[in-house]
C-alpha cells in the first residue's frame, strides 16, 4: 500500500493508504483528527473546510495521493498555533459572540472565515456584505447572523 506523507498541523505524518482515498477520511478515520466534519462528501456543505498551505480547501474533494510531502494541512485543531495567543482571533470572536449552536459546522465556518479574511486582505480591501453572502458553508441551526458578526469582529482582531 502506498505511503502518503504530508504536514498536518505542523507535524509530518505518514499514512499507508491508497492514493484515491479522500483526505477527509485519511484525517478522520485513519489519523483520528475529527475537527473537519462530514456533511456531504461532494464539496457542497463545506463542513470539512480546512487549510492547505494557508488557503481554504475541502478535504472531501482531494485525493490523498495528490498531496505533496511539503503540503501543509491545517485543521481547526491546528488553527490556534498559526497566530499568537491561546486561540486564533477568529476563534475568540466566535466565543465572544456565542456563535455555535450544535457546533457541527463551526470548525468549517471558522476555517472558511479565516481564509476569506486573508483573501480580501490580499486583494487590498476589507470584508463586504457581498463576500459574506458568498460563503457557502451551511449552518442548519441557522446561526448565520452571529457568523457574520463574528467574521467582522475576528477580521478586526486579525490586523
Amino acid at each position: 500500500m502506498p505511503k502518503q506523507t504530508f504536514v498536518l498541523n505542523g507535524r509530518t505524518v505518514t499514512v499507508n493508504v491508497n492514493d484515491d482515498v479522500r483526505v477527509l477520511w485519511v484525517l478522520r478515520d485513519l489519523l483520528g483528527v475529527t475537527g473537519p466534519k462530514y456533511g456531504c462528501g461532494i464539496n457542497v456543505c463545506k463542513a470539512c473546510t480546512s487549510h492547505i498551505n494557508g488557503k481554504a480547501f475541502n478535504p472531501c474533494s482531494v485525493r490523498v495521493g495528490d498531496l505533496k510531502p511539503k503540503d501543509r494541512i491545517t485543521t481547526i485543531e491546528g488553527l490556534a498555533d498559526t497566530a499568537p495567543g491561546d486561540l486564533h482571533p477568529m476563534q475568540q470572536a466566535w466565543i465572544d459572540l456565542d456563535v455555535a449552536q450544535c457546533g457541527y459546522c463551526q470548525p468549517g465556518q471558522i476555517m472558511a472565515a479565516v481564509a476569506l479574511v486573508k483573501k480580501v486582505r490580499r486583494e487590498g480591501r476589507d470584508i463586504r456584505d457581498s463576500d459574506l453572502d458568498r460563503i457557502r458553508n451551511i449552518c442548519r441551526c441557522g446561526t448565520y447572523v452571529r457568523i457574520r458578526e463574528a467574521i467582522e469582529k475576528g477580521a478586526r482582531a486579525m490586523r
Binding site: 482515498v21 477527509l24 482531494v62 466565543i95 455555535a100 442548519r140 441551526c141 441557522g142
Partner: protein, 791 residues
C-alpha cells in the same frame, strides 16, 4: 381538566396565591438526600408546574391544555428521581435526562442548578444520562418541553444540595445554619470561617434516603437565571474538541454505510456481486439488513466506493408510483368540508388554500450511530432524543431484554425532529448483529432527503367571513400525509388519556397532537381548526413515507395559511394588518409582542415598489412570538446570479422578532434559538422542499435542498425578549420563531408581489434548479478537484 391530582399541588396546602403573598408556600417543595460517597440529592421530575387556562371564553383545546401539559402529566404515575452529586473538587455533576442537540439545554440546565446552589455556572457539569427505562416518559426531548418540565425539579434538587452543604458547614463551624451564607461554591460565617463545597461534600453525604423540605429562591433574588450566559461548550466547539458520534473512538467500530434503494422505502432483495464487493480495498464486511446492503470498511470513503459498486435487486417501496401530483390529489380527495354555511347578506367570505410540499428535517450531522452487538448484550452510542424508545428497539432486534442494552446519548449535531427517531440506531444494530463486529454507521448526505424523515405534504384551507370589520367565522381544515409519532409522543398521549380534555375523545393520535398544539388567539366568532390525514388504499395506517415533525409539528404550515387569511380579512375590513390583528387578538401578551415589532420595525413605512413588510403572530407552548419582516422582490435582488445550484430569489432583508416565553432562563441562548428559527421560517416559505417523482425524492445534497444560505440571510435581524410581569415559569423556545416567521415572510411576499402564493415554498413549482444526483448507485462519488477550488 382537573389539577388536584398534581403532585405540585399535593405537597402544598390549599392556600391559594391570595393567602400566600410572600410566595413562600408556592416555593416550598419536598426532595431527598440519597445515599452516596459524597453529597447526592434528588428531586422528582413530577414537580413540573401546569399552567392554568387564561382565556375567558371560547378556548380551543390547546388554550386549556397543550402538548407541554400532556408531556408533563404523562410522568405522573412514575415517581422518577434525578440526582445531583457534589464532588470533592467542588463541582456538581448532573446527568440530565434530556438530549442536547444544539438548543443549549446543557447550558441552561447548568444555570438553573447554579442559581439555587450558589455555584459558578462552569462548575456545574451537566452530562446526558444514558437510556433509563425507569424514567419512562421523562426521557424524551421534544415539543420545546425541556425547560418547561425540568425547571422546578432541577431547582429543587439544587436547593436541597445547598441546604445540606450549609448544614454540614454549621456543624463544622459550631454554629447555626441560618447564620451562614453561600457564594461561589463557598459557605461562610461572619467570623471568617469558610469551607468550599468540595470540603463539605463527604461530610454532607448520607447513607440513607432522607426527605427534605426546601424553599426555592424568589425570582427577585435571581443572579444567574435571566442573565445572558454563553454556551458551556463554546470553546470545545471552536477548537474542534466537541465530539459527535462519528468522532468517537470506540474500539473496532469501523466505518459502515448502506447502499439504499432508488425509490423511497424500497427494500433489498439481493446483492448479486458480494464477492466483488468483499474484495474491494478496505472492505471488511458486507451484510444485507432490512433497509439495504451494509458495508464496513477501513474508511467511509471506501464504504462510498463499495456502495457505488454494488449490484442490488430491489423491491420498490409502496410509494413507488407516487409523485407530488398524485399525493396532492389524495390530499384533495381527503379534505374535510367546511361546516359553517356561507353567511348570507353583506358578509364577505375570504378563502385561502395552501399546499405545503414535503420537506426534509435532516440536520447537518447525518444520521450516525455506533453499535456493538454481542451475545446477550448490546451497546449503542448515538445522538437520540428518545433513548428509551431506542433501547427498546435495539432489544427487540437482538432478542434480549432492554436492561441488557446500554444506550449512550451523544450530543447531536442538530435535530429539528430527525433525532426523535431511532432509524440510525436500528440500522447500526442490524449491521453489527449481522456482521458480528462493532460498526460506526453513518448515512450519506444523499440518503437523508431520499430515505430519511420528511415533514409530510399537506394542504391547509381557511374560510372566514367578515361583516363590517367583524369576523363572524374562521374555519381551518388541515389535511396531511400521516405524521409518524412512533418515538414516544403516542405513548405519552395514550398514557394521559384520562387527563385529556374531553373534546379529544374521538380523535386519532395525530388529531390529538394537532389539537394540543394549535392555537388561534383571535376573537374570530366561530373558530374551528381541524386536521385529518390521508389513508393509503387498503391500509389502516399509511406507511408509504418516512415522516416526522420538523422543528414544529403542524404550526408553520397552519400558521402560514391562517395569517395569510388574517391579512385578507384586514384588507376587506380596510384596516392595516397590525391594527386589524390588535383589534381581534385576545391575549395581551401576544398584543404586546405585536406592538413591539410594529414599533421597532417601523411598520407602515413607505417602501419602494417590489419590496414590502409583513407581520404575523404565533402562540404556542406557553409563549408567543410576533414577527415583522421586510422582503425585497425587485428583479435585481430576485435574479442575483451566484452560480449554479444557488437559489437566490426574493430576499428577506430585515426581521424584527419579539418573543415571550414567560420566564427566560438564558436570553443569549433564547436569542440564538430565535435567530435560527427565523432562518428556518424563511426557508420554509421561500426555498426548501423535496420533490417526489415516481417514488424518488429528487434532492440529494445541500445544493438541491435549499435551506437558507448566507445569500438568503437578512442584513438586519433584531430579537426582542419580552419579560411579562408575574410569570414565574418558563415556556418553550426551541420552535417558537419558525411558524410566525414563515407566515410573516408569506404575508410580505404576497404584499410585494400583489399575489398571495398558494404553494409553499414558492420555489417548489419552479423548474428544478439542479440536476438530480444518481439514484443507482445510490450515492454520488466525491470529487477530486478540490485543489483547484482553494481560496
Amino acid at each position: 381538566m382537573t389539577t388536584d391530582a398534581h403532585p405540585h399541588d399535593q405537597q402544598l396546602s390549599s392556600l391559594d396565591e391570595a393567602d400566600d403573598p410572600s410566595g413562600l408556600r408556592r416555593r416550598t417543595f419536598l426532595g431527598w438526600v440519597v445515599a452516596g460517597a459524597t453529597l447526592t440529592v434528588a428531586a422528582d421530575l413530577r414537580l413540573a408546574p401546569r399552567a392554568e387556562a387564561v382565556v375567558p371564553s371560547g378556548p380551543q383545546v390547546a388554550d386549556l391544555y397543550d402538548l407541554e401539559d400532556a408531556q408533563t402529566d404523562s410522568a405522573l404515575p412514575t415517581s422518577q428521581l434525578i440526582t445531583i452529586t457534589i464532588n470533592t473538587d467542588g463541582t456538581a455533576s448532573f446527568e440530565m435526562p434530556r438530549t442536547e442537540v444544539g438548543q443549549g439545554i446543557i447550558t441552561s440546565t447548568a444555570m438553573i442548578i447554579a442559581e439555587e446552589l450558589d455555584l459558578p455556572v462552569d462548575k456545574v457539569k451537566v452530562t446526558m444520562a444514558p437510556a433509563r427505562q425507569e424514567l419512562a416518559f421523562n426521557q424524551l426531548t421534544a415539543g420545546s418541553n425541556t425547560t418547561f418540565s425540568t425547571y422546578t425539579p432541577f431547582r429543587v434538587a439544587a436547593a436541597i444540595a445547598r441546604k445540606q452543604l450549609v448544614e454540614a458547614a454549621a456543624i463544622l463551624f459550631g454554629t447555626q445554619a441560618d447564620r451562614l451564607i453561600t457564594t461561589g461554591g463557598v459557605v461562610r460565617d461572619t467570623l471568617g470561617n469558610q469551607a468550599t463545597y468540595g470540603d463539605l461534600a463527604i461530610d454532607a453525604a448520607k447513607q440513607v434516603v432522607e426527605a427534605v423540605e426546601v424553599v426555592l429562591r424568589g425570582e427577585e433574588k435571581f443572579r444567574v437565571i435571566g442573565k445572558p450566559q454563553s454556551r458551556l461548550d463554546a470553546r470545545d466547539a471552536v477548537t474542534g474538541k466537541k465530539k459527535f458520534t462519528t468522532d468517537l473512538k470506540i474500539p473496532n467500530a469501523l466505518p459502515t454505510m448502506v447502499c439504499r434503494p432508488p425509490t423511497h422505502l424500497g427494500k433489498p432483495r439481493k446483492l448479486t456481486n458480494p464477492d466483488a464487493i468483499e474484495k474491494m480495498p478496505g472492505v471488511t464486511h458486507v451484510a444485507q439488513i432490512p433497509t439495504g446492503i451494509a458495508v464496513r470498511a477501513r474508511t467511509f470513503g471506501q464504504c462510498i466506493d463499495a456502495v457505488r459498486a454494488m449490484k442490488v435487486q430491489w423491491t420498490p417501496g409502496d410509494a413507488a408510483n407516487e409523485s407530488d401530483d398524485t399525493i396532492l390529489a389524495e390530499l384533495r380527495a381527503a379534505e374535510l368540508p367546511m361546516v359553517v354555511p356561507q353567511v348570507p347578506g353583506l358578509a364577505t367570505t375570504v378563502e385561502t388554500d395552501c399546499v405545503f410540499a414535503f420537506k426534509s428535517s435532516a440536520a447537518l450531522e447525518p444520521y450516525a450511530a455506533i453499535a456493538d452487538v454481542r451475545d446477550g448484550s448490546a451497546e449503542i452510542w448515538a445522538g437520540i432524543k428518545s433513548p428509551i424508545f431506542a433501547q427498546n428497539q435495539v432489544a427487540a432486534i437482538c432478542g434480549i431484554p432492554p436492561t441488557s442494552v446500554k444506550v449512550n446519548v451523544i450530543t447531536g449535531g442538530g435535530s429539528f425532529g430527525h433525532k426523535l427517531f431511532a432509524d440510525h440506531i436500528k440500522e447500526a444494530t442490524e449491521a453489527s448483529k449481522a456482521m458480528g463486529v462493532p460498526v460506526k454507521l453513518m448515512w450519506h448526505r444523499a440518503d437523508e432527503p431520499r430515505q430519511g424523515r420528511l415533514h409530510p405534504m399537506a394542504t391547509s384551507r381557511v374560510r372566514a367571513t367578515v361583516l363590517a370589520g367583524e369576523v363572524l367565522s374562521f374555519e381551518q381544515r388541515h389535511t396531511s400525509v400521516l405524521t409518524d409519532f412512533e418515538h414516544g409522543f403516542g405513548e405519552i398521549l395514550s398514557n394521559v388519556a384520562d387527563e385529556l380534555p374531553t373534546q379529544l375523545g374521538n380523535y386519532t393520535l395525530s388529531q390529538s397532537v394537532f389539537a394540543l398544539t394549535q392555537q388561534m388567539p383571535y376573537n374570530f366568532g366561530v373558530l374551528d381548526q381541524l386536521m385529518n390525514e390521508t389513508v393509503a388504499k387498503g391500509d389502516l395506517v399509511d406507511e408509504r413515507f418516512s415522516t416526522g415533525s420538523m422543528r414544529n409539528i403542524y404550526s408553520p404550515d397552519v400558521c402560514t395559511a391562517a395569517e395569510l387569511t388574517v391579512d385578507k380579512l384586514a384588507k376587506v375590513a380596510k384596516m392595516d394588518p397590525v391594527a386589524f390583528r390588535l383589534k381581534h387578538l385576545k391575549d395581551e401578551r401576544v398584543k404586546d409582542a405585536l406592538r413591539l415589532v410594529a414599533d421597532k420595525g417601523n411598520f407602515g413605512r413607505s417602501m419602494p415598489s417590489g419590496t414590502a413588510q409583513g407581520v404575523a403572530i404565533h402562540k404556542e407552548y406557553k409563549g408567543c412570538t410576533a414577527v415583522l419582516v421586510e422582503i425585497d422582490n425587485r428583479p435585481a435582488t430576485r435574479n442575483r446570479d451566484l452560480g449554479p445550484e444557488t437559489i437566490t430569489g426574493p430576499r428577506v432583508t430585515k426581521v424584527v422578532l419579539a418573543v415571550d416565553v414567560g420566564l427566560c432562563i438564558n436570553p443569549r441562548g433564547l436569542e440564538a434559538q430565535m435567530q435560527g428559527g427565523i432562518m428556518d421560517g424563511i426557508a420554509l416559505t421561500l426555498t426548501s422542499s423535496c420533490h417526489l417523482e415516481n417514488g424518488r425524492f429528487q434532492e440529494a445534497s445541500w445544493d438541491n435542498y435549499f435551506y437558507t444560505r448566507q445569500w438568503n440571510v437578512p442584513f438586519d435581524v433584531e430579537v426582542h425578549i419580552l419579560s411579562p410581569e408575574g410569570i414565574d415559569s418558563p415556556g418553550g423556545g426551541g420552535e417558537a420563531a419558525v411558524g410566525s416567521t414563515a407566515a410573516a415572510v408569506a404575508c410580505a411576499y404576497a404584499r410585494a408581489t400583489g399575489q398571495v402564493p398558494t404553494v409553499f415554498p414558492i420555489q417548489h413549482t419552479k423548474p428544478l434548479a439542479f440536476k438530480p444526483k444518481t439514484f443507482i448507485p445510490s450515492v454520488p462519488q466525491s470529487p477530486t478537484n478540490g485543489l483547484r477550488r482553494t481560496y
